[in-house]
Amino acid sequence: MAEIILKATNISKAFAGVQALKNVNLTIHKGEIHCLAGENGSGKSTLIKIISGVYEPDEGLIEIGGKVYSRLTPMEAIDRGIQIIYQDLSIFPNLTVAENIALNLELSGKRKLIDWKRVKQIAKEAIDKIGFKINLDEKVENLSVAEKQLIAISRALLNNAKIIIMDEPTTALTKKEVAALFNIIKNLQSQGISILFVSHKLDEVFEISEKITILRNGQNVISGEAANFDNDLFVYYMTGRKFKETHFEAESRKGTPLLKVENLSLKNGFKDISFELYAGEILGITGLLGSGRTELALSLFGLLPADSGKIYIDGNIVKINSVQDAIKNKMGYVPEDRLTEGLFMPQSIGRNIIISNIKELLNKNGFMNENKIQKCIDEWIKKLGIVTPSQNLPVQTLSGGNQQRVVLAKWLSMHPRILILNGPTVGVDIGSKYDIHQILRNLAAQGIGIIIISDDIPEVLFNCNRILIMRKGRIINEVMGKDVTEEELAYQMAAEA
């Protein structure tokens, strides 16, 4: 057995009111690819932050390369070869690509001055390593999420890392990019570098990891060779539940379509988009990053009004030039990035739920009706199974899965007829993901028209009865969910025209 490179023993950590970790152990060997799994809020991120010195553990020891620490500073962790790619990427939007990549290295090298030539040189080498092309002088705030993620990865690869920790590294990556990343990971492994990563995507976990550690409620459940697990077992350890994925079948389409889009075009966004959505359908729109899928979603929801084309609802032509127009037409939109676009993190869960529906919750005299509001909040917390001691707590105290449910609740509380979801389960654990999918299916059954925009292929495949494939701003094909395989779908998304 290879030497132990990191060993965390009996780690405990509590936050205001939450015991996040209780006597957790984790052992990583040299050159090992290790998966850390668990539901939302099970303590994965907290454990990672303790290993990397961001948090101080209440109890427990961390042993790195033979040295034992009761607490680490981030600098020490970096010095000892621990590199972390955070879920929120931890990059600087206001700095250039080159700086974002090179700064950490320069910092840990204790450099006081900046040599811009060197910085660019470092950055160039780093992005070359993962075969990624980008203007090094571009400000990162002008980049897409995937590009930002690649920057974070190239940055982590730079430091003389012994362990690279990735918290859900693949959420915003396309299949192709994931494959490239895995190649890089294997390459690193062959150089003796260990990888610890968190993922909620089963196929990825089994494709790449050698060992798996599973947490539940802040405690160890099991840790062992990946070969000893299978899908069902893995899911069971994680959630204590069993799931069965089935294809979603919509009722037969009839009457006028709920939503009809004709020749919608937006400069630098998409072109000649036409499709129909019937009540009770779940329509998938999939495509690679940069295919125009998000722009289309934003456009339908009035955030980026289209330049030309027509939108019909119930056969009547409508103008959607603002979110208010969209809401008037009973549309809801679950955005790509729940932290910045979907939620008001420091505000209460209750306020987040009612904000888009507040006009319905007023008295005749225009004041808010406290009873109605209370009822509405209670109803949706219960219906969507949001786990919280009180609706008055800020949303930021919830785990990712529960936060996503709050976003859903916000839109469902206004009783939408059309619900557009952009990446509805990004960063949500398997249990919650399954629950959210069930919620969507139930909604469809109640006659809501749903559009799921996602590049999570199994997600669209199983949950959408119809799938539109976008490429370079256009719809290139339409398939039925039950008629295609994952491979076909992936091929069509990516194939060069």
């Binding site: 979110v323 008001f344 505000q347 808010m368």
Partner: protein, 348 residues
């Protein structure tokens, strides 16, 4: 009236509780040191005359700070509307006018002042939300603009000759204990606090102040909310202007210029988050009272110069904030130990 239940309010907001403690401490110290002066009813009535003008301005400031901005133009708006009122009241009422006519003109002038406040506020809101100028710059510019108009209108001179009927409003107390300016303050406070806590506009304002992107994605019309907020701030500034005109029997382009930063200070002490999204009228009101107690208290010591007041005021602000810091930490620790005990029991 469950909205005005004090216990309810305090429970909601631990910051408010701390402010009440602070108020109580100041009150106790002042009463202990100068009982024969501070505890006189005259003193309280006098204070009730003094704070409404900057109190109303503080509420205006709070509103703009809830959006995450700031409104440096409130004093300019207040003077401009005051001047227009004063000009109207002094130039358009003949010497021998009947009381009924004077009253009519006063009502007209008040309405005009409110309209001016509305316009000024809308102008600010427009520049901030439609053109995208940061609030601090937009209102700094409009402050000069409004004061500039006031200067041009008056050539810098004071406007006087306001009918006694109007200035009596600023200097009489209903039943001998409720000064009219105080009544105006209380009215403004009630209206704004209901606006914030009971209407959808209030909720939208808090949410937009917290995260403008999310609010856009949630269907809030940010432009509209911003315009309405600065408009309300402008109206309140006009109300303050009307109080000042009545209190001083005159209007001038540079009255109360020191109120600008003072109202920011009050808002911050009152628990308004400078980044937007959090703050209540109740908090601001307690902060105003703390300032007024301190200020009137210090005027009772001939040997203490007014500058010491600045010093104490700054100290109070910072002490309250540091105190907040520690008590939040303490509350956190307590919660943790409670939770870990529960956790231990659960897992046993």
């Amino acid at each position: 009236m469950k909205g005005f239940n004090l216990r309810h309010l305090i429970n909601q907001d631990s910051n408010l509780l701390r402010l009440f403690i602070m108020l109580f401490v100041v009150f106790t110290i002042m009463s202990a040191v100068k009982p024969h002066l501070f505890l006189k009813s005259d003193n309280f009535i006098s204070m009730a005359y003094q704070f409404p003008e900057y109190g109303v301005l503080s509420i205006a400031m709070m509103l703009s700070m809830l959006t995450g901005g700031v409104d440096l133009s409130i004093v300019g708006v207040s003077n401009l509307s005051g001047i227009l009122t004063a000009i109207m009241l002094s130039k358009m009422i003949p010497q021998d006018a009947a009381p009924g006519y004077i009253l009519f003109m006063i009502i007209l002038a008040v309405l005009m002042a409110l309209a001016v406040g509305t316009l000024c506020g809308l102008f600010n809101g427009f520049v901030i939300s439609k053109i995208g100028v940061p609030a601090i710059l937009a209102t700094l510019g409009s402050m000069q603009l409004f004061t500039g108009i006031a200067l041009v209108l008056t050539n810098g001179r004071i406007v006087t000759g306001i009918p006694i009927m109007y200035s009596n409003l600023g200097n009489t107390a209903v039943w001998g204990i409720l000064p009219v300016p105080l009544i105006l303050y209380i009215l403004s406070a009630i209206v704004i606090s209901s606006l914030l806590s009971k209407t959808s506009f209030g909720l939208e304002l808090y949410m937009m102040g917290t995260n403008p992107t999310a609010s856009r994605f949630s269907g809030i019309n940010n432009t509209k909310v911003t315009m309405l907020t600065y408009m309300t701030s402008g109206i309140l500034a006009a109300v303050a202007g009307l109080i000042v005109v009545a209190r001083t029997n005159s209007a001038k382009a540079d009255f109360g210029t020191s109120y600008t930063l003072q109202t920011v200070l009050i808002s911050l002490l009152g628990g308004v988050n400078p980044n937007g999204g959090f703050g209540t009228v109740a908090g601001v009101t307690v902060a105003i009272l703390i300032l007024q107690f301190l200020s009137s208290g210090f005027n009772m010591f001939p040997s203490i110069s007014n500058f010491i007041k600045d010093l104490i005021w700054g100290l109070v602000l910072i002490l309250v904030m540091v105190f907040n810091y520690y008590s939040n930490k303490y509350a956190q620790k307590r919660a943790i130990s409670k939770r870990s005990k529960e956790f231990a029991q659960k897992t046993m």
